[in-house]
Symmetry: C2
DNA sequence: TTGAAAGCGCTAACAC
DNA sequence: GTGTTAGCGCTTTCAA
């Protein structure tokens, strides 16, 4: 069997409490005793049982990351960032995918919460804007932090990227290439990022004294298929754009497909930009100029804030909004 | 505070053991008592504390999925399948990404193991062929199941897909289209799937009485960049293929890029097939004919087997090798 | 600065 | 069938 704290205490000739103090880096232990205990720990290969300390200490050191998102690249980067930070601070990350459209969402999450006994939760969009879910967590007194929330008024901590500014920047980039007829394929209406990106697009046009024309604004759904439909509309209607801003890379890839089928050369006849820096943006030809959100960074900071929140410390001054980066690739060029 | 088993016992007027029996569906409780206990449970909103039962019962109901894989789509499907099955059997899944090339791999995994206290582990390729890791788990008496192992001689349970057969099928499909000069871009040498897929390719050619010519066999690394290099070689050398089997979709996408740059039309001048059914295979034009592994299924069965293994039950007759499916898309056509 | 004792919430072992 | 008791391995409380 595994060595317990008692075995260590016996071997070191001290009390279990002293061992406990040493392994938890508590103060008030004389250096000599510390050495004694550490030697015994090494000798027995002692590892403390996190289950037991969780039970007694009334905290599990588990954080749950709850998400509902169909974008594998995004989710994985989120997971990796969150895991890294959580582990660095002595926590374990438990992931919990779900479908925010399922009928028994809240019920299922409640079951999961009771099963996992986490100390806190990380909520991503669109779940972090679900009022029922928020209420459930508050009723159960589970601290949470939100990632990219739509509603920023709630008093729980949150972290997000500056979608409005990034959309502004990429639209501006198209303008700087000489484009004036710039279309946008918007994202899914349920997502908080959708209006933000549209606002950035509008601001860029307006600041350059350009009009936002309704026939260049299409409503997509973040899927490849929706992008295809919108692109076909844009490229067959009378008022044709010379540049298209698709609000994610899947839809941008769809624009490329439609353009290829219509023998429209990208980028010489049509510039295309996406959003997210998804793997496809590099795996397609021409590769797609896009926006990279610092997802891993965002996840890390969300974990930090959550832990501060759980410890009831101040988390208000932690930076909450991260800037994105433009990634210039081969789908954009000067207007012909 | 939350209600405990004692509170339930008091309210129901029974002993804690009876409550324990009821909530764990143990036999030997009279129906009348069952009702009594269930009513008290509902009234108090009692949920059993899994930490306490884990401590007492010497098992945590946690399974860890350990992986080292750069393919987000693959990893996510694996996770989702494993989570679903684990939850269905009352287990929680903990995920643990790592990098199989990192210097302190074993050490880090050991730390993680001590931290998480899982009842069992799921190992994916290439980790499941790491002898040091296997030894670590055996020394720590942690049961494990392997997913897509290269070495199938080890006596632990494993699940995989039939790579050889799938590669045979897709090569055969190209042959059926009239192609005779079929090139292959092999995967990374560290991966067990690489030789299997090559064997399937060779078998298909041989069964049709065709030669495997060395100049049509290129060594890739599963990355887009490696695919690009190999494709450029294949399409510029004297002996040009009319069809290319890239051993994953990233490399197939790279073939499409090179072909586009060289004004080679796919599929009319060149047929291209990939492997994995990665998102890019649908998001690119032409969309890529590929092989879909039943990853979620594989993950589910691996969880089942692992749980049987943990319970020391027989797991030998559970099916271990799953067939893949061909997904026909637009990157292939009859030879001109 | 150190230690003894109590107990976190549950289940195993055994008695009735 | 049902209940009592002990104890999983740790941390907290409080006394020394």
């Amino acid at each position: 069997m595994r060595a317990t704290i008692k075995d260590v205490a016996k071997l070191a000739g001290v009390s279990v409490k002293t061992v406990s103090r040493v392994i938890n880096n508590e103060p008030n232990v004389r250096p000599a005793m510390q050495e004694l205990v550490k030697k015994a720990v090494d000798e027995l290969g002692f590892k403390k049982n996190p289950l037991a300390s969780a039970l007694r200490g009334q905290r599990s050191f588990i954080i749950t990351l709850l998400y509902s998102n169909p974008n594998p690249g995004y989710v994985l980067e989120l997971q990796n960032g969150a895991i890294e930070q959580a582990n660095a601070q002595g926590y374990n990350l438990q992931i919990q995918p779900c479908d925010h459209n399922q009928p028994n969402l809240i019920e299922n999450i409640e079951t999961m919460i009771n099963h996992a006994r986490q100390d806190g939760m990380l909520l991503t969009h669109p779940l972090c804007d679900n009022q029922e879910l928020i209420k459930l967590l508050e009723d159960n007194k589970i601290p949470f932090a939100r990632i990219s929330p739509f509603n920023r008024e709630h008093d729980s901590p949150f972290v997000c990227s500056d979608d409005e500014q990034a959309a502004f920047d990429i639209t501006n980039f198209l303008i700087s290439l000489g484009h004036t007829d710039i279309a946008i394929i918007k994202g899914h209406q349920d997502f908080g990022a959708t209006p933000k990106r549209f606002e950035g697009y509008q601001r860029a046009l307006k600041e350059m004294g350009m009009q936002v024309s309704d026939d260049l604004v299409k409503q997509g759904e973040f899927t490849f298929e929706s992008g295809e439909v919108c692109a076909r509309q844009l490229l067959t209607q009378e008022h044709k754009p010379t540049a298209i801003f698709a609000c994610n890379d899947y839809m941008a890839a769809a624009v490329l497909k439609v353009a290829a089928q219509m023998k429209i050369n990208v980028p010489s006849d049509l510039s295309v930009v996406g959003y997210d820096d998804a793997p496809v943006s590099q795996q397609i030809w021409p590769s797609i100029t896009t926006v990279k959100q610092p997802i891993a960074e965002i996840a890390k900071h969300a974990v930090q804030k959550l832990i501060l929140h759980m410890q009831k410390q101040d988390y208000s001054d932690v930076q909450t909004q991260f800037p994105c980066k433009l990634v210039l690739r081969n789908s954009t060029s000067l207007k012909a």
